[in-house]
Symmetry: C2
DNA sequence: CTGAAAGCGCTTACAG
DNA sequence: CTGAAAGCGCTTACAG
């Protein structure tokens, strides 16, 4: 492994000159530039990124912290982030972290000074305190699917309340009067927002029946609970449900179908995420009417905002440009007009 | 952001001493250690990883380069790598790269000096020349699902030839005599090995019928070709197929089922990977008899070998400890005894 | 246009 | 046990 000095020696110039041609600076005479370039090629030299980062205090890399990398839901985010960062000539480093799990390496400290900015995906990846401390350290960060009252952090979210409101409206138009809300057990801000959408929707429709159940986020755990609440749905003559996500939606579908229900004829379901988890349920079930999230747009916004912050004028404070994206209601085969009163 | 000097000043000691307590060296008197620790806490100081890496020529991080992070097939690898690395107190950085795509950042150069060692997953992530150059630069690398005649590189693979041989044997025992081989279009070494397993298997069973078709690796592209070769399978009275992977297997299943075949009664299929892609096919199809790969074991081997290489005695050459893992034939519902002659 | 020198924030022989 | 100093491999005012 050769270093800049070896190149300089071989080319018969100073290290400064070598550095200048590496960094594409104009002010180098052609003949010297040539010689340097040749020396670089001959030695197969690549600059030491670490030394460079230390000298320049700039890495041209973005760190992305997610809870996991392999769930298909994050796929579009991750692809988008990678693609847009590449366009801006930034490398991206993905790390796995869950602040609820113990781990030997703390990825926030770990990435310190290795990246110019951080993107967190999902509330589980960072705590409010960590965000505060990051902001204090003037580290550019974008937080997706997270919402805390922390300054100097850009939060990117989806209009959870309004979306669910729209879901209830949709069910209302179809004639449903007894609509249940199946939410998650995790006490996230997303949950609060979606629950509000349910209540507001009901109120504006003038519907008196209101009932919320909590299910685990995960399909396999949700499945059992879904079965156990079925009798209560029947007692209550419920004809439709809004489900926090399509995993829970799938669990409810499975429970209903295996109990002889026809979906949507006997029961309408609206989910969230527009994922069709055919590999989860033991029975086939219709694609759920649910919300499509603009992941690519969100990724683009995340990258461009972050890079803008990274390249802000020296000394400027970090401004936060939080943004809410709209989800699109995709009407599939799990909702229809109410056929009878339960 | 404070640095080591700020801490030293505050604690009234030298930078050397601060460095020693950061690095848990014994030889620091308790009172000084206390003062340093206190200063660190008060200033909320974290050492600059970049400076450290430059000074020590060691990063305690492992770089993993994969073609994509979100396909579920890689999930167990990735989880395993992350978990075992964490146990060894190494951080891991995931990067997305395909050496067949153009990209603005070359992740190999990009990771140079940022990591202590590299793991490539999949043949598409690195070329033979790049591997040679990496070996020459004495960079520890482990290559999974890749096989090149390059020294000082550890290759981890699965016994492709023997597995397919076993698949053919399985079909032979069930009475199948006209077995087709459906391979991929990509000219990988994996393909060569699996094709050899097919031919050797046929030979040892004394079966004369031999026929290989090439399909795209991807389900959606494979689906059309699968339909178009159906007439030829019928003409040839084929009763069973080995498929390069379960995506191709799913495509073939779909083609057969939509043409009125009952699987496995009318046609037996062995796949590879033990993934059940129920979300791909338009028709339900039975779980494919196929091979389970020991991804977690492979991940463990990759991490422990890599770290061993990283920590080899100074000056030692890198030894390569390539290893082949065995796949397990999982007999599911897509294979049965031959019912008639096609 | 170009080089000598200082600096980025650490670590680590070396000397005491 | 501890500090002064050199070094890791770069970049960048500064001076010419």
């Amino acid at each position: 492994m050769y270093n800049i000095y070896d190149v300089a020696k071989k080319a018969g110039v100073s290290r400064s000159t070598v550095s200048r041609v590496i960094n594409n600076q104009e002010s180098v005479k052609d003949d010297k530039r040539e010689r340097v370039l040749e020396a670089i090629k001959e030695l197969n030299y690549t600059p030491n990124a670490t030394a460079r980062a230390l000298a320049m205090n700039k890495t041209n890399t973005i760190g992305v912290i997610a809870r996991e990398l392999t769930e298909s839901f994050n796929a579009k985010f991750i692809d988008g982030i990678h693609q847009y960062a590449d366009q801006m000539h930034y490398g991206v480093i993905f790390c796995i972290r869950s602040n609820t799990n113990v781990s030997n390496v703390n990825y926030i400290d770990f990435l310190n000074k290795k990246v110019d900015g951080l993107i967190f995906i999902g509330q589980d990846t960072v705590s409010e305190d960590e965000l505060i401390s990051l902001a204090k350290s003037q580290i550019p960060v974008v937080a997706m699917e997270i919402e805390y009252p922390v300054e100097h952090i850009t939060f990117i979210n989806v209009n959870n309340r309004d979306s669910v409101y729209k879901a209830i409206e949709h069910l209302g138009k179809l004639g449903h009067k007894r609509i249940v809300n199946i939410t998650t057990e995790d006490k996230t801000q997303e949950r609060t927002a979606r629950n509000k959408g349910y209540e507001d929707g009901l109120n504006d429709l003038g519907l008196a029946y209101k009932c919320t159940y909590e299910l685990p986020y995960n399909f396999f755990e949700a499945r059992h609970i879904a079965r156990s609440i079925l009798p209560r749905l029947i007692d209550d003559k419920v004809t439709a449900a809004f489900c926090y996500n399509n995993e829970i939606g799938a669990a409810l579908c499975e429970a209903l179908i295996t109990n002889g229900y026809d979906i949507p004829k006997d029961f309408s379901i609206v989910g969230f995420d527009d994922m069709h988890y055919t590999n989860l349920s033991e029975v086939p079930y219709p694609r759920l009417t649910s919300f499509l999230q603009p992941q690519r747009d969100m990724a683009f916004y995340a990258i461009s905002t972050l890079i803008q912050i990274i390249n802000r004028k020296k000394g400027d404070a970090i401004t936060s440009k939080s943004k809410e994206f709209k989800c699109k209601l995709m009407i599939h085969e799990s909702t229809t007009i109410v056929s009878n009163e339960g």
